[in-house]
């Protein structure tokens, strides 16, 4: 089995307890860092590892940290983004529920590197159990001296708080997350200023995804060269691929980046249900373009997936067999975005509504030939016209299915209905 980093403990009995985590080498990276590594050197180590954000955008983590000014009049903050809501993505929940101390250690190392003394874990409101697990783990870590004042006898201090969201997908966007944490509607901010200079409560802020932070302890312990040797040259390390939809063994698979889509579907996830042909897959959560069977040999790293015309995003890998109607799939996701649009920007708020209306009528046999160009026109009027990436995400399922499966749309229009069984 390939080396596992963020999932290395998840199958251990009582994996969420501090004692188990310690017995498996937990908090050794923190001990090492506090004794031997200067904060600046820690940032350099993460830079050299090549670790890129696992939330979706793939931004180099060490570089992000280095944007935070050393001196600041206002307190600096870390927000751990645990608002896992991208359809098809279900990896952070596993780390949170099964190995909370790995996340806490990752957070603590990150805060030590940047000079942060308060961190918030913004967890999606629905994950009530996960929030409870984290609260318990924080209390355990505090009692054992891994959190609080004078951590492990050093002069470093840190408090970590769990903050629950309340059912808004947009709060996974980093500036919306900060607004929400401040007790406001989760509406994204205008950038600049960027969070690194002015973020939470006005202070310099770093926002990192759960999986990103869970990689830090091993990078510290085993070294950046070890980490960089896993995966591909520019997409280093492993990735937790979340496979859902029409496969025999849906679930989470931590594999080196660069594994092919074919291996992921047919070897790891056991192939398509009932041996049916593959029709389409989404490699990086619902916000990235669909791909088809001709893309099966695409390597799943940031660069290769982008080259194939999609994005690795959150590695939420949704598989659809030949019985799936692409108009229906696009409509399903369009409803999602329509429901989740924060409503701030007109192109997104109105565009998602209109795309739903048009897709609805095509799916139900009332479509017109000119509707396809109308859909693409709406897409082009959303693209780049919104404050945050949500608008571009929302148009993606529609645009990519119209482009890849135009004849299927046309047969809905000409046949006055959906040719697929519901």
């Amino acid at each position: 089995m390939a080396e596992r980093i963020v999932f290395k403990n998840v199958e251990a009995p009582n994996s969420r307890e501090l004692e188990t985590y310690r017995a498996r080498g937990g908090y050794r990276a923190l001990e090492k860092a506090l004794k031997e590594i200067k904060p600046d050197d820690l940032i350099d180590i993460v830079k050299r590892s090549g670790l890129r954000g696992r939330g979706g955008a793939g931004f180099p983590a060490g570089l992000k940290w280095s944007f935070v000014p050393k001196e600041s009049k206002l307190p600096k903050y870390l927000c751990c983004n645990a608002d896992e809501s991208e359809p098809g993505t279900f990896k952070d929940r596993v780390i949170i529920e099964k190995d909370p101390h790995l996340l806490l250690e990752g957070i603590t190392l990150t805060c030590y590197a940047i000079g942060i003394h308060t961190a918030y874990i913004y967890i999606r409101g629905e994950m009530v159990f996960g929030a409870r697990v984290l609260e318990q783990a924080i209390a355990e870590a505090q009692r054992a001296g891994f959190l609080g004042n004078n951590i492990l006898g050093s002069d470093f201090h840190l408090e970590i708080y769990v903050h629950r969201g309340a059912g808004a997908y947009i709060c996974g966007e980093e500036t919306a997350l900060m607004e929400s944490l401040e007790g406001k509607r989760g509406e994204p901010r205008v950038k600049p200023p960027f969070p690194a200079t002015r973020g939470l409560f006005g202070g310099p802020t770093v926002i990192n995804n759960v999986e990103t932070l869970a990689n830090i302890p091993d990078i510290v312990l085993k070294g950046p060269e070890w980490f960089a040797a896993i995966g591909t040259e520019k997409s280093t390390g492993t990735r937790v691929f979340c496979v859902s939809g029409h496969v025999n063994r849906p679930g989470t698979y931590e594999l080196p980046m660069g594994v092919t889509a074919r291996d992921l579907i047919y070897e790891h996830a056991g192939g398509i249900r009932g041996g049916r042909p593959l029709k389409a897959f989404i490699p990086g959560g619902s916000s990235v373009p669909f791909l088809t069977a001709e893309h099966l040999d695409v390597k799943l790293d940031f660069e290769s997936v982008a080259q194939a015309g999609s994005l690795l995003g959150s590695a939420g890998f949704i598989v659809m067999d030949d019985t799936t109607c692409m108009v229906w799939a696009a409509l399903n996701l369009c409803h999602f975005y329509e429901h989740e649009s924060c409503g701030q920007c007109t192109p997104c708020r109105e565009g998602t509504r209109w795309m739903s209306v048009v897709l609805e009528r095509i799916e139900h046999g009332r479509g017109r030939q000119q509707d396809l160009d109308l859909l693409l026109d709406v897409c082009s009027n959303i693209r780049g016209q919104t404050l945050c990436p949500f608008g571009d995400a929302a148009l993606t399922p529609v645009e990519s299915t119209v482009k890849l499966f135009r004849s299927e749309y046309e047969s809905h229009i000409q046949g006055k209905g959906c040719p697929f069984a519901p």
Binding site: F90, V128, G183, F201, C242, S244, H335
Partner: protein
């Protein structure tokens, strides 16, 4: 409006943030956990606690789907409708629940026991189809499992 234990939790919450406003979401969660929903009285109460205007608290509470605006059933059944669950039969689960409970989405059974709502992706796509009932996830569902869950909850 909050129990003494709830007020104690509220005081603890305040210590986590540099200002009172940031405690708004956790306070709304706290009130809803005791009262069942965010009523008009709850909004006034929370506004008073945090020195915010009721209008402001309402504008924030109404942004988030988890804060209920009206009294819900004892068990709120939340059926995920997003693509991965839909590919694995969530529509059947929803239709079955509607029939079994005799209510439409957004309604509550006359005995006040069950409310039925649809929700977006619950981040549990590997065990689709998934529903959440109050705080708990029920995963890898089929119609038999739904029967068993409803039976168990009906008895409680």
């Amino acid at each position: 409006m909050l129990s003494p234990a709830g007020m104690e939790k509220f005081q603890q919450l305040l210590k986590r943030y540099p200002n009172k406003q940031a405690a708004l979401l956790p306070t709304l969660h706290l009130v809803q956990s005791e009262v069942g929903y965010v009523s008009k009285e709850a909004i006034d109460f929370v506004a008073g606690l945090l020195a915010l205007s009721p209008t402001y608290v309402h504008s924030v509470a109404s942004f988030y789907t988890m804060f209920y605006k009206e009294k819900m059933g004892k068990y709120v059944i939340q059926v995920c409708r997003t693509l991965p669950c839909a590919l694995c039969g969530s529509r059947k689960i929803l239709e079955y629940l509607k029939g079994k409970l005799g209510i439409e989405v957004g309604e509550t059974t006359p005995d006040g026991k069950f409310s039925l709502v649809t929700v977006e992706c619950l981040a549990s796509c590997g065990t689709a189809p998934v529903i959440q009932i109050n705080d708990d996830y029920y995963e890898g569902l089929n119609l038999e499992k739904v029967d068993r869950i409803l039976e168990q909850l009906s008895r409680e």
